[in-house]
Symmetry: C2
Subunit: 207 residues, 2 copies
């Protein structure tokens, strides 16, 4: 397809597509004349990936670049690629050693295999410390309930990925894994906000 | 306390505190001399709230201003205040009508009380549409499982809020509710990422 069709089908303006091409986020098309190039489904898929990360995931362009580098590198296995995605996602915070230790104990207790420098450890530790300061930290039992709910969902998501092992190529699989990883988080956030509204409506709407 | 102590205890630089004062995000202290003012625990609490929203919640300053306006307005009930927080949080996306309809059906099926213009509806609709395009959308049954897990967590969180009805003042309660709302979401995100790493480690680390 020509760039105009790529723009129409991806709902991304031509100027933005040209920007992604210049920045190397999108591979060049196949030149068919001095000023014409053909694009295919891989370009469409890549554009949708970029737009999903940017608009729904609110992932900054610099982090998207790191994620796409991992997607494009044949040498990176899927587990390490998912790790790269996690490192690229914010917020980037640094926890106090005591708070990190507490999270480490929780992870050990849960029997989770999580690398010692996973950024989720710091995010959890900083967040729990802030909740404690405001007097609304979840109890240890609540936290384990949360963790077990998240574990069930994550296992289901990763199992879902396995079914696309038969995907036409590594790139399609890698892209789908990235989309799944970032967007399942947004599904959770959206459902959690809707559930909070419902819970608050039941509890507070009369006050 | 003087501003220097407020800075030390909140871990926010003096220049930043002065910026928040100028911007009206923080109430002025009590003047004790031409160039001296006294600050109290309410200032410390407010600074911690701003920093938590900014650094952990990644909420932009313009949205924090809207949230604080709702916190400060005596006329706003807790349910409406939580609504304001939800509207202030991103990402702000607009879904296709057909996708919105599908989310509406899910909410009806779940029996949730959610306002027709809740932004979580659009976020969920847009995210599910993007997942569908990448071939990794959760099934209807999975989605209901996610929703029920989120509902249990949200009810617990809102019930936790109720126990601080005995809080010294409305402001402390409102601030704690805001912190709880935004940070519980981050607890979920952090646990979900850690759980994804664990699930991926079990499934993929040998590939």
């Amino acid at each position: 397809m020509l760039m105009s069709e790529l723009s129409r089908r991806s709902d991304v303006p031509v100027a933005t597509i040209k920007f992604y091409l210049r920045e190397g986020l999108l591979a060049p098309g196949t030149a068919t004349a001095a000023t014409r190039a053909e694009y295919d489904d891989s370009h469409l898929r890549r554009l949708r990936l970029i737009r999903s990360l940017l608009e729904i995931g609110e992932v900054p362009l610099a982090s998207i670049r790191k994620i796409l580098d991992a997607v494009d590198s044949e040498a990176v296995g899927l587990h390490d690629m998912l790790g790269t995605v996690q490192y690229a996602l914010g917020p980037h915070v640094e926890a106090e050693p005591a708070d990190r230790l507490e999270v480490g104990r929780l992870i050990t207790e849960l029997g989770w295999q999580v690398s010692p420098d996973a950024p989720g450890r710091d995010l959890l530790a900083v967040t729990l410390a802030a909740l404690r300061r405001s007097g609304s930290a979840p109890s240890g039992a609540s936290l384990r309930d949360y963790a077990e709910a998240m574990s069930r969902l994550a296992r289901r998501e990763v199992a879902g990925l396995a079914t696309i092992d038969a995907a036409p190529d590594r790139m399609a699989l890698a892209e789908s894994a990235v989309v799944g990883m970032v967007l399942h988080e947004r599904v959770l956030i959206a459902l959690h906000r809707l559930a909070q509204e419902d819970a608050s409506a039941s509890r507070y709407s009369r006050t």
